[in-house]
């Protein structure tokens, strides 16, 4: 006899916080109170657990001082329960609690490693109300569970039964051969059937390769059939995926500007604009004698120099498609995957320093009918928020900066940008840390999690439009705990010089990570039967392409393999030697000696046919709106401050740990009130020096509806000026201590490939992308800020029920910059009554795409346009004033314009303001001064004693507009005419409640 189930639940009479939270979530999502909810956790064991072990769990391990109680044997519903919902994880979905329980048993019963007994955890929700099956199903599918990752059981309480674990699948080692059809229709059908996401030209190129006499000879010699195996087809599809190949950014493009009449060809957007901008900046830096730019574009993250001992590494990327179908799993996997980019750069390791997240959702009160498969934006928001909380907090990485945007067009696919910065040693084992090294004979180690069927087709999945049916296998849930163990180990192993090269197992799994690294030595061989599996029944091709999380591929010299493996064991990390690098010119994989994959490396990496695309641009037909006379500006400001776009983010930000490591000098929320929003975040790097890094984000998709060039330029400028606002200084000749700057670009677009039937405006969308890239080049070169890494996500469309929801073309610029002395940084909150308030930078009638026009229900035409040369000079002066100690506070003016920036600075410091905006935009109507979103501007406060010095440094760039006052009031006037007069508290109430109510 043994015990098959152990349940843990809050003791009756004690609070049940999980139940209370579930009740609130249901109420918010379905606008109907489900009544009292109580929860339980049920653990199922197969084979059954010896009674002594079950007793240990119930009486010691799972029991605490009276708040919970554990029961052994069949689970009994609590008294008063009338109906239930049980949530089990689908086979292969990460179940950390079950894993931990196995560890707990191993600890207590003297086993060095958890045994083979399977354990699964289940969440049960007991309802006091007798809900119908229909209601329970809605709660299950739409609120508490997700059929993609969960098995949902519900019904009357009498029908409750504990789960049984399904039998383990049998071995699946067969390798299948796939016949390549000879006709085009057949090739396209094959691509669709197997979710390869390859187009006709690519399928043809593949067919040509397999038909070549040389290929046939090589395959025969390797014991493979002439037709491709399933593993080869999948390996090619992953390697050639949009996700891995950036096909649009590498395409040849014929561009026609219908405005100016100019037309020209572009030989790769990536090379023409992004690489070229960085090379231009690099040349200038070299001329100035600055050598901090170390590695750009050709690794998982960009690398710049902090000082002689350390380098800064960082990467920002998106995780949109997974977040659309499973918001929690998508976001947490996105963060952890992004963490592995710096960890998998150069020789690997280093220490993760911060996360930053930028999120674009449909509005929480979205009220259009949902398309099949579409999740409500509020649910996406809640799930992504929770994923970021767990992904960051449970990894011990502070989430220091970010942004949340709302627009109806993000209701199909949200945009989830995750960024991670790290600090690594400049040298490891006596060699440059950032340089990857692979030679013939080096061993391939897979480190971290095991491989299952989860995350198969992630790369190809994200290269397709989303529809009603998402492939279940593409969804996965990350384990921050597992990854933390790997990160701790890798930091040590790399520092000891045991790692020659590291990379992440992300999109495409082993096929991509080994396939990429094989280019350095000229070949690789993987023995798939050595790869540790989560469970039996994973086919060889699945082992090769699975994206199961928390795995790194590390290259270890043969003579170091034993020491490396021993160190991994000491960190409780599984590290397996799965093959070796060769110089054979081929990527090979075998399973128990049988060939699975045998592909020519050159073909694999360079055989993708280049796309030739057409693009055009014509300015949209837009006009400025009539701004009604007699508006109540106080009311307008209150409305804006309470809007989803501009309201306080504190309710979200406080659920993200931004303090851990104790070195966050400029945090997301600061000031006397502790709630003043800040611009860039600043982290100190250690306790011995005052060096730090500032990090910022710039994004403004609405401007792109008027002009994508202006949008891209404004986004770049926003990221730069946020860093200038805290005290960062742009690259310049003759700097005493030159500080690095490092930008990431992330483009998110709908499908830009023209198709007469399915995408008739594809050329225009691609034209927008071209204009965005032109602005990228112009801004990066003007500011001397190099792009060091980036990503593009090119299929952000949701198609279902005959409708398509496409994101607006969007670019996010994320910038990090070195700060020589964090003590000289300034924050955005006002510091003292009597300080003078200046607006730095001129204000134009530029409300196109502004929040004020959105309030009016209009778009407008006069989009903010950046003048980068004038802005650079202004930034130089402002930086000098901050460095000289003349500035008390500085806040970037962005969404919502001057009035909103003034409010935020006042709110942070708990001061009032008395400001006359008459000189801000002379000759313009009040709304221009209050709400124009002209770029490159700041609100600066200056102590009275510093006014003279400040003005002389700023020259004509600063306009004195008023002063900080002790009374907590917003007084804004234009000459004698009062515009806004309100208690800070009354505005703050609207501002604070914007998101609180929907979370």
């Amino acid at each position: 006899m043994g015990v098959r189930h152990v349940a843990v639940a809050p003791r009756e009479g004690h609070a049940d916080p999980s139940g209370a939270r579930a009740r609130r979530d249901v109420l918010l999502a379905l606008a109907s109170d489900p009544g009292v909810v109580r929860t339980a956790k049920v653990y199922t064991f197969s084979p059954a657990l010896p009674e002594a072990e079950a007793e240990y769990l119930a009486c010691v391990a799972l029991c605490d001082a009276g708040t919970n109680e554990a029961s052994v044997g069949p689970t009994r519903p609590p008294s008063g329960a009338r109906s239930f919902l049980a949530i089990d994880k689908r086979p292969g979905v990460t179940d950390d609690e079950a894993q931990t329980l196995r560890t707990v048993l191993a600890d207590a019963f003297e086993r060095s490693r958890p045994g083979t007994r399977r354990v699964a955890s289940r969440d049960v929700y007991w309802f006091e109300a007798s809900h119908s099956r229909a209601v329970l199903e809605r709660i299950a599918r739409d609120v508490l569970g997700n059929p993609l990752v969960h098995v949902l059981t519900f019904g009357d309480v009498a029908s409750y039964a504990d789960p049984e674990l399904p039998p383990e699948p049998g071995e699946a080692s067969a390798v299948a051969t796939i016949r390549l059809p000879e006709d085009d229709d057949g090739l396209v059908a094959l691509s669709e059937r197997r979710l390869l996401a390859l187009d006709l030209a690519e399928m043809r190129a593949m067919a040509v390769y397999f038909g070549l006499p040389a290929t046939r000879r090589a395959r025969e010699a390797a014991g493979l059939p002439a037709e491709p195996t399933d593993g080869e087809l999948e390996c090619i599809a992953q390697t050639w995926s949009e996700h891995c190949q950036h096909k649009e950014f590498n395409a040849r493009i014929s561009f026609r500007d219908n405005e100016s009449g100019r037309s020209f060809d572009i030989d790769s957007l990536f090379r023409t604009y992004i690489v070229a901008a960085t090379r231009t900046v690099e040349r200038e830096l070299a001329a100035w004698g600055q050598d901090w730019l170390l590695k750009v574009f050709d690794d998982n993250a960009g690398v710049v120099r902090i000082d002689d001992e350390r380098v800064f590494v960082w990467k920002v990327e998106t995780h949109n498609s997974p977040s659309a179908v499973d918001p929690y799993g998508g976001a947490i996997t996105g963060i952890l995957g992004n963490n592995r980019d710096p960890l998998g750069t150069g020789r690997g390791g280093g220490r993760l320093l911060f996360n930053t997240d930028v999120l674009c959702f449909g509005p929480p009160d979205y009220d259009r009918p949902l398309l099949p498969g579409q999740l409500h934006p509020r649910r996406v928001f809640a799930g992504v928020r929770r994923g970021i909380e767990d992904g960051g907090n449970k990894s011990g990485i502070p989430t220091v900066n970010g942004s949340i945007l709302f627009d109806d067009r993000f209701a199909g696919k949200p945009l989830v940008f995750c960024g991670t910065g790290s600090v690594a040693p400049a040298s490891a084992g006596g060699r440059r840390w950032w340089e990857k090294e692979v030679s013939e004979g080096d061993r391939i180690f897979m480190v971290g999690g095991r491989v299952g069927k989860d995350g198969i087709h992630g790369a190809t999945f994200s290269s397709l439009a989303l529809g009603a049916e998402a492939p279940r296998s593409a969804v996965q849930i990350g384990s921050p705990y597992m990854q933390k163990l790997v990160a701790d180990f890798l930091e040590d192993a790399s520092a000891r010089g045991l790692v020659k090269c590291a990379t992440d197992n992300g999109a495409g799994g082993l096929s991509s990570s080994v396939g990429e690294l094989a280019r350095l030595s000229g070949g690789a061989e993987v023995e798939l039967e050595r790869v540790p599996l989560k469970y039996a029944g994973v086919a060889p091709w699945e082992i090769f392409v699975s994206e199961s999380q928390e795995r790194m591929t590390l290259v270890v010299a043969e003579e170091d393999a034993a020491a490396f493996a021993a160190l991994a064991a000491a960190y409780d990390v599984e590290a397996t030697d799965v093959g070796r690098f060769t110089s054979s010119g081929t990527l090979r994989a075998t399973h128990s000696g049988s060939p699975v994959v045998h592909l020519d490396l050159d073909f694999l990496h360079r055989g993708t046919p280049r796309k030739h695309l057409e693009a055009e641009w014509a300015a949209p037909d837009v006009a400025e709106p009539e701004v009604p006379a007699g508006l109540d500006w106080t009311r307008v400001l209150r409305d804006l401050l309470g809007s989803y776009s501009l309201c306080s983010r504190a309710a979200v930000v406080r659920q993200f740990d931004h303090e851990i490591k104790g070195r966050t000098v400029v945090k997301p929320l600061m000031g006397r009130s502790g709630e003043g929003p800040q611009d860039a975040a600043v982290l100190r790097l250690d306790w011995e020096t005052y060096r730090g890094v500032a990090v910022s984000n710039g994004i403004c998709p609405r401007y792109g509806d008027i002009d994508p060039y202006a949008m891209s330029a404004a986004a770049f400028d926003e990221a730069v000026r946020q860093i200038v606002a805290v005290g960062g200084r742009l690259p310049r000749p003759g700097a005493e201590e030159p500080a690095f700057w490092s930008a990431n670009d992330n483009f998110c677009l709908p499908n830009v490939v023209h198709d007469e039937a399915s995408n008739p405006d594809g050329r225009t969308k691609l034209g927008k992308l071209v204009r965005m890239c032109e602005a990228l080049f112009d801004m990066a070169v003007a500011y001397r800020v190099p792009l060091t890494s980036g990503k593009d996500s090119m299929k952000n469309d949701f198609r279902a029920g005959g409708r398509t929801i496409s994101v607006p073309p969007t670019v996010l610029y994320s910038i990090a910059a070195g700060i020589p002395d964090v003590r000289r940084c300034v924050t955005a909150d006002f510091q003292a009554a009597g300080d003078a308030i200046y607006v730095v930078g001129r204000t134009n009638d530029e409300l196109g795409g502004s929040e004020f026009y959105r309030w009016l229900g209009a778009l407008g035409r006069n989009v903010p346009r950046v003048a980068p040369d004038a802005a650079r000079e202004r930034y130089r002066r402002l930086s000098e004033a901050i460095a000289g100690g003349h500035v008390a506070s500085c806040h970037d003016v962005s969404d919502g314009g001057l009035a909103v920036a003034l409010f935020e600075s006042a709110m942070g410091g708990e001061f009032g303001i008395d400001v006359d905006v008459g000189d801000v935009a002379p000759g313009e109507r009040p709304h221009v001064a209050l709400f124009s979103e002209t770029a490159s501007r700041f609100v600066v406060s200056v102590p009275p004693a510093e006014k003279g010095a400040f003005e002389s440094v700023l020259g004509g760039e600063a306009v004195l507009v008023g002063r900080v006052i002790a009374e907590r009031e917003m007084r804004l006037s234009m000459g004698a005419c009062s515009l806004v007069a309100a208690e800070l508290a009354s505005l703050a109430e609207a501002w604070r409640n914007g998101l609180e109510a929907v979370l």
Binding site: A61, A570, Q655
Partner: protein, 280 residues
């Protein structure tokens, strides 16, 4: 005179070892960051240290309850050469040393029954459960030191300031008798207090709803102590959320309030061990 030796535990999802070690160093102690695996394999013994500190983090991802799996490991896993880590901790405190836990480490100490331990039998007498708000909270709080405690880690008149960042920090005592004994003996070292310095149960000054605002506990002998807020996140004055204004108004040094807690631990261990002082 040799410096106090502090062992700062890491591994198993502990996150704050780096700043915790910095705290001890700033307080004049030697800090050794040691992976728990080395202790469990018997390579290093906790008894060689004057202070054993379990830092914050998410040990085992908080699966099964905050701090529970790590507590189980420390209580159940046999170390080659005899005993468990918990046995070793007992010897550390019996020898005049201290066992300290912050945030997740405090949760571990409570699970292990090391604090408040009013019964003296090392039984779990309290739990740290989900915040009343149902949310993880990152915010700065004010802490008032209890004048009647067995020892003090903060001597200034104003409250000590530090951030909390936790989802499960609400203290629940096993029964009223435990609570009364904790209060009677002043084992509640720190309490969340309002702007006036008065202990409070009101959110947000009290971020989790702990009764009487209790934020920290020690055992009656004063050998074990844990707290939810993070003194190691206030080692420098430049991480306080209002540092620019305060420095302009008050000037002052660069040290944050949190260093005092580490210094207090080091001083207390020196007293308990009769070492008579520490290097400054």
């Amino acid at each position: 005179m040799s410096a106090i030796r502090a062992l700062v535990l890491t591994g198993c999802g502990i996150h704050s070892e780096e700043e915790t070690a910095a705290g001890y160093r700033l307080a004049g102690a030697e800090a050794h960051v040691v992976h728990i695996g080395r202790l469990l394999r018997g390579e290093i013994r906790v008894e060689r240290f004057d202070v054993v500190h379990i830092p914050g983090g998410f040990s085992f991802g908080d699966d099964l309850g905050a701090g529970r799996a790590l507590a189980n490991r420390m209580r159940a896993r046999r170390i080659p050469g005899g005993g468990t880590l918990l046995d070793g901790l007992g010897r550390v405190t019996a020898d005049g040393g201290m066992v300290v836990g912050i945030c997740n480490g405090f949760q571990v100490l409570v699970q292990l029954g090391l604090v408040p331990n009013v019964g003296g039998r090392g039984e779990p007498e309290a739990s740290l459960v989900s915040n009343s708000s149902g949310r993880f909270e990152d915010r700065w709080v004010r802490l008032r030191a209890n004048a009647r405690s067995p020892f003090r880690l903060w001597d200034e008149d104003r409250p000590l300031e530090a951030p909390v960042r936790h989802g499960q920090g609400r203290l629940v005592f096993r029964d009223d008798a435990v609570r009364d004994e904790v209060v009677r003996r002043g084992l509640d070292l720190f309490s969340y207090c309002d702007a006036a310095g008065v202990p409070t149960v009101l959110y947000p000054a009290n971020p989790n709803g702990s009764p009487r605002g209790v934020a920290a506990l020690c055992d009656p002998a004063g050998g074990a102590f844990g707290m939810m807020p993070h003194p190691e996140n206030h080692l420098s004055a430049f991480v306080h959320p209002d540092w620019p204004r305060r420095r302009r108004e008050q000037g002052g040094g660069e040290e944050g309030d949190g260093v005092a807690v580490f210094r207090g631990v080091v001083r207390r261990v020196a007293e308990r061990k009769g070492l008579g002082g520490t290097e400054r």
